[in-house]
Symmetry: C2
Subunit: 414 residues, 2 copies
C-alpha cells in the first residue's frame, strides 16, 4: 500500500500542515505557545475541526474540549480505533510535539478514505486538549478525562499562575457546562499515538522509527539535607555540618550509580535550593530534586533504596539530617504487544529501520495504556531537542511515520 | 593593677553598658540593627559621644562619622594609642559584635583615668562608623578612611538597596560636607581592637582570650560549569553533559581536600545557582561560590591551583566547561608581634588561659594592620554564634577582655 503513495506529494503536504498548525500560537520566541483554553488553543482546535469537516468526517468536542473526527465503520457493533495526540504546547515550544500526531492522523485518515473508502471499524482522529501541564499544575487532562482517571468535580482548586481557575478557563473556552457530551469513553478498541521522540536515541543509532515497549515509571523526590549555618572563616572544617557538602556527595553518588546501571535507568538532579545561599556562610539547608525513571518499577524502587541507605551513611558522617519527600510515583505502563508487533511487521516488510525502546518521557499513551490496547510510535528528533523553538524532525522521518500509521490503521480498521 | 579592681562592680558595669548600647537600634527580631548613617546609628554615636564627654574626654567626629574620644597625654610629641571597634551592625545582629570593643575602650579609659590620671601618650577611643557592609556594598568604611585606603571621591556610584547613594546618606547624617576634619590619620602609634571571636574555637578549647597572630587572607570565586540541558527521561546517562553532576564532584573534592589540610585552611561553597533549575531537566549551567581562607597567601594559592587542576580533569570527563571568576583576593595581615607579645605577657602573669590563633573573619584590625602596629584580641562567643540576636558572651569573659585592655593600654601609654 505504501507504494501507491506519491512520497513527494505527501512530504509537501506534511510540511504545509506542520506550518499550518504552528501558525496558531506562533510566538515571539520563534516557537509555538498554545496553553489549555487560551485563544491560540481555541483557534488551533477550530482549525483542526475545519480540516476534519473538510475531509467529510464528523467533528465533535467532548465537554473538556477534546476534539474528535469520526470516520464511521461498516460494522455498527465495532469499537473505535482512535489515533491522535495533544494540541497544547509548552510555553515557547516547537512545531512537532503533540502537533505531529494530530497531523499524521488527519493525513492517514484522508489517505485511507480516498484510497479504501469506508472502514469496517470506525476510526476516530483525536486532538487531545491537554497533556503538557504548562498552564495548570496538572497533566493529561485530555486523555485522563477520556479514560476516566480525571474527574471534573475534583479540580475546583486548580488555578493557573494568574489565579484563573481551571473551571473558569474551561467555561470561557466554551466547555465544562455540559453543552458537549461527557468525555469518558468505553467504546475504544485501541489508541495509536505517533509522536516525536524528544530524545536522540533514534538519531544517534540511525533508526527511522521507535516502537515503544513501555513508558517508563518515574519517582520524583525532593530531598532536604539539614546541616548548620556557620561562618565560612571562623569554623574549622572538622566542626562543620555542611548541608552543601552532604548534598554534593549524595548527588555524585546517585549519578555514578545510575551511570553504572546497564538496564536503561536514568536519575537526574536538576533542581537545587540552598539556604541561606550566601557565599561566606556554610549552608544550613539544601533541597535537591531527584527524578528516577525505568521501565521496571522494582528497579526504580531498588535504586532509590540503595541510594538512600548510602545517603544515611553520608549524612551520619557529616552530622547532617535528611528528609525525603516523594511527590510522584508513577508505575511503568506497557504498550500492547499485538499492536506493537503489527507495527514491527509493517516496518520489517517495508525494510524501514526501527528500534524497540522505552519512552523516558510521559505521553498520553501512558494514560490510554491502562484503559485500552495502546501503541506509541516515535519518529526521530534532531539533536533530541524538544520543548524549544529548535525542535525539528526531517520531513522524510515524518513521512515514514505517516506511512506506518496508514498501514497500521488499515490493518486494524479495514 | 587588675587586683585593684572590684570585679563585681566591673561586671555589673559591663552588663549595663551592653544593654545600653544595644538599646540603640534594638529591633523586632530581638536583635540590633544599626546600619551606616541610619537613625539608630546616629543615636548610638550620639550616646557614645555623651559617654565620652561624661568621662571628661574630648569628643570629635571626622568627616565620615568616625567618633573619637581623646585623653590627652603629657608628651606633646607622642603619637596616639588608639582603641575601639565599629558601631554598625548587620541587619538583625547581636549586642556584642563591634559594640563590645567600644564598650571595653570606654571602661578601660575610665578606669585608667580614675586610677592613674593623665597618661604619657594620648589615648583615643574610636567608635568606627562602618565595618559590616550591611547597608552599602562595601566594607571597612571607617578604618579605610582613617588609614587612607578608602577615598570619599571614589564612591559616588555606591548605593544602598533603596537606591540612596552613600553621599546622600552621609550628608543626611551630617557628614561628608567638610564640617568635620578629614578622616585620614598619620599620628597613630598603634591600634588595639577587642572583639568577640565569632567562632567557637575558644569555647571548645576552654580558653579565655584569643591573641590573633594573623587575619587570614581570602580568595573568593564564582565558578561556573557549562553543560547541556536535556530531558531527564529521554537522555541516557552516558550521553549527558550534566553541569550539576560536575559541580557536585568539584564541591565534594574541594571540601575533602580542605578537610584533609592540617594547617587551618578553610574552603566553603555556600552559594549555588542552577539553570534552568527544573527537576526534570538536566542542568545546563551551575554557578557556585568558593571562599578559601588561610593565614598564608601561598597556601591559598596552592590549594586553588590543586583543586582547579583536578576540576579540569572532572570537566573533561563530563564533557563540561568551566569558567573561574576571582572577585576577591585579599592577602593575610599579620598583627604586630610586640603588641601581641605584650598581651601574652599580661595574660601569663594573670594566669589567664589564652590561645594564639588566626582570625578567619575580617576585622577593622586588618585595615589598621597595614597602617600601624595593631593587635586584635578575642573573647569567646557562645556556640560561635554571631550576626544573630543569639550572639552571646558570658560577662566573666567580657570582663577578662576589659581587664586585659586596661593593662595593655597602661603598658603602652603610661
Amino acid at each position: 500500500m505504501i507504494k501507491q503513495l506519491k512520497p513527494s506529494a505527501l512530504s509537501a503536504q506534511i510540511e504545509d500542515m506542520v506550518e499550518w498548525l504552528a501558525s496558531y500560537g506562533s510566538d515571539n520566541s520563534g516557537g509555538v505557545t498554545r496553553l489549555l483554553y487560551d485563544p491560540a488553543w481555541s483557534a488551533a482546535q477550530k482549525a483542526v475541526q475545519a480540516k476534519i469537516e473538510h475531509l467529510g468526517l464528523t467533528a465533535r468536542y467532548d465537554d473538556v474540549g477534546n476534539l474528535f473526527g469520526r470516520l464511521a465503520g461498516r460494522d455498527p457493533e465495532a469499537k473505535v480505533v482512535l489515533t491522535g495526540s495533544h494540541i497544547d504546547t509548552v510555553t515557547g515550544g516547537g512545531k512537532y510535539d503533540g502537533a505531529f500526531g494530530i497531523i499524521a492522523s488527519l493525513l492517514a485518515v484522508e489517505y485511507l478514505l480516498t484510497h479504501h473508502g469506508q472502514p469496517l471499524k470506525p476510526i476516530e482522529i483525536v486532538s487531545l486538549c491537554e497533556e503538557e501541564g504548562s498552564r495548570f499544575p496538572m497533566t493529561y487532562w485530555g486523555s485522563g478525562n477520556i479514560t476516566g482517571v480525571k474527574d471534573r468535580d475534583n479540580v475546583h482548586h486548580v488555578k493557573d499562575a494568574n489565579g484563573i481557575s481551571l473551571d473558569q478557563a474551561m467555561q470561557a473556552a466554551g466547555f465544562g457546562s455540559d453543552l458537549h457530551p461527557s468525555p469518558e469513553r468505553t467504546d475504544l478498541e485501541c489508541f495509536i499515538e505517533l509522536h516525536i521522540e524528544q530524545g536522540e536515541v533514534l538519531e544517534r543509532e540511525g533508526k527511522s522509527i521507535g516502537i515503544v515497549s513501555h513508558i517508563v515509571g518515574q519517582r520524583r523526590y525532593n530531598i532536604t539535607v539539614y546541616g548548620e549555618s556557620n561562618h565560612a572563616g571562623t569554623t574549622p572544617m572538622k566542626w562543620r555540618r555542611d548541608a552543601m557538602f552532604t548534598a554534593a556527595e549524595m548527588i555524585r553518588l546517585l549519578t555514578i550509580r545510575a551511570t553504572a546501571d546497564q538496564s536503561g535507568l536514568v536519575a537526574t538532579v536538576g533542581h537545587m535550593e540552598v539556604k541561606p545561599n550566601v557565599g561566606n556562610v556554610i549552608a544550613r539547608e539544601v533541597t535537591f530534586s531527584l527524578d528516577v525513571r525505568h521501565s521496571n518499577a522494582e528497579t526504580i524502587k531498588q535504586f532509590c533504596e540503595a541510594c538512600f541507605s548510602e545517603f544515611e551513611i553520608i549524612a551520619a558522617q557529616h552530622g547532617t539530617q535528611i528528609r525525603y519527600h516523594k511527590w510522584m510515583d508513577e508505575p511503568p505502563v506497557a504498550m500492547d504487544h499485538t499492536l506493537t508487533k503489527a507495527a514491527e511487521d509493517i516496518l520489517k516488510r517495508g525494510r524501514i529501520s526501527y528500534k524497540r525502546m522505552t519512552s523516558g518521557a510521559g505521553h498520553d499513551s501512558q494514560i490510554f495504556g491502562t484503559h485500552c490496547p495502546t501503541a506509541l510510535l516515535f519518529v526521530p528528533s534532531q539533536g533530541g531537542i524538544s520543548h524549544s523553538p529548535a525542535e525539528f524532525t526531517h520531513t522524510e522521518d515524518l513521512q515514514r511515520g505517516v506511512l506506518l500509521l496508514i498501514d497500521l490503521l488499515y490493518k486494524l480498521a479495514y
